[in-house]
Amino acid sequence: MRSDPHVHAAGAALADLVLEKTGVDVARCYQCGKCSAGCPLAAEMDFPPSQIMHLLQLRDLPGFAEMALRSHTIWLCLTCEICYCRCPMELDIPKVMDALRHESLARGMVHPKAKDILAFHRAFLDSVRVTGRLFEMGQVVDYKLRSGHFLQDLLQAPWMFWVGKLHLLPERVRDRRALKRIFAKTRRVGEKRP
């Protein structure tokens, strides 16, 4: 059963929180490493997926589970699902990654290198909140403002515009109020502008 994701017992082990939110029992992981072996970004990660699971398994050793929340890994995970697909214990690791991201945001433990990724996600959702749909042009501008990467893809935009892929005006949902209400009711954790 899922409960309100923003409420959890203080002092509970992170593994318990993960179990409560995702139904995944990290104790079942026996560290075979198949997830890390198949992960497309394992080489880029500070802790490949199997190690994230092991950090959570060290539930009562101070500091270890927190390393998972502070990891770069959780932001690099692409949710490509290959780990879950091949896991012999059928552990939904991508779901665990989601839960860790939420917790990392809530506790303000986001890895510094994840700044750009986070900025992109926030710009994306901002766009959806305003128009109900993704306004790619608007999002890119927003992302540039958030990330400070003003020059990135500068040459891409005119080409996209030229081939008709980039619209200057957003497409909109008619009932935008309904969307706003959804966003209002789903308060995102750590929703503060950096």
Partner: protein, 288 residues
């Protein structure tokens, strides 16, 4: 069977040609695809990365809208949107309490009757597709499924997660020769297109290199995100690889359109970053 259509945001923008080619093909096959009324964005990667409720609420609103107008199924050509809708449907139907809570959030009740369909499922259902083929697509192609069409296998329940065959079968019907290759379901870098272009260049590069080394003449895709990474990010890929990679990336609907003899312009082939220098029939191979 009333089938609705959820285009998703990218098909209105960066993946416009996917939408154009789909509608052109559907028209030629005599099918109408009414859009889900007043649809919104599915939330994509951003929503589930940042907010679990939003990640379910946005797709739930779409599903409820489709259900309300009696659509028994919704065609979701974008594999990323497909995944979000399919996963949401699964989670809501697994947990009644959750379903009620999310229904409350979106102020609309999704009861679970509307099914979610990906483009390959939809095309596979066309009876005697080969009869519509006028110009066989006589090319060696690499059918690229990416992640989200086949995974998580327990939820999407579509084809086998390792070495899937549905797209290969479809392309064979169009006259193409699908190659046996190793990166059918490897990740292209997905949502990192903008934020970690370096990683996309690496992952997408591996995919293209394997396809090219096995003699593929075109990549066939069914996902705007894959297309974006494999096509529009080609300069970054080439820079990282230190060589030119000129294999075009074609949506399956475009390939079908070409085989059915529809004009290239109608299929949006001119909108690609990597020029599509092949047409369907080998004999008529001309630059477009």
């Amino acid at each position: 069977m009333k089938t609705g259509f959820y285009p998703g945001c990218s098909m209105k923008g960066s993946a416009r040609e996917y939408s154009e080619s789909l509608l052109a093909v559907a028209g030629a096959l005599g099918r109408t695809l009414p859009e889900v009324p007043d649809w919104n964005c599915c939330g994509a990667t951003a929503a589930h990365n940042l907010d679990p409720d939003l990640a379910l609420a946005l797709p739930a609103r779409i599903l409820a809208a489709a259900e309300n107008v009696g659509m028994e199924e919704v065609l979701v050509p974008c594999a990323a949107c497909y995944s979000r809708l399919k996963v949401t449907r699964h989670e809501l139907l697994e947990d009644e309490q959750l379903r009620q809570r999310i229904s409350g959030l979106v102020e609309a009740d999704y009861r679970g009757s509307t099914e979610v369909l990906n483009i390959l499922e939809w095309l596979s259902r066309v009876p005697e597709l080969e009869k519509h083929v006028k110009k066989p697509f006589q090319r060696k192609v690499a059918c690229y499924y990416g992640c989200l069409l086949v995974r998580p296998a327990g939820i999407v329940k579509f084809d086998r997660p390792e070495d899937p065959q549905t797209m290969d079968l479809l392309m064979r019907k169009l006259g193409a020769e699908p190659i046996d290759w190793a990166f059918k379901t490897e990740c292209c870098g997905a949502g990192f297109s903008v934020s970690r272009t370096d990683l996309v260049a690496k992952l997408s590069g591996h995919i293209l290199e394997d396809a090219v080394s096995r003699g593929a003449e075109a990549m066939i895709v069914a996902c705007p995100m894959c297309h974006l990474n494999l096509d529009m990010r080609r300069p970054n890929i080439e820079k990282r690889a230190g060589k030119k990679i000129s294999i075009p990336v074609i949506y399956i609907t475009q390939a079908l359109g070409l085989a059915m003899g529809l004009p290239a312009k109608k299929l949006g082939l001119h909108r690609h970053k990597v020029a599509v220098k092949i047409s369907a029939a080998n004999a008529a191979a001309k630059d477009i």
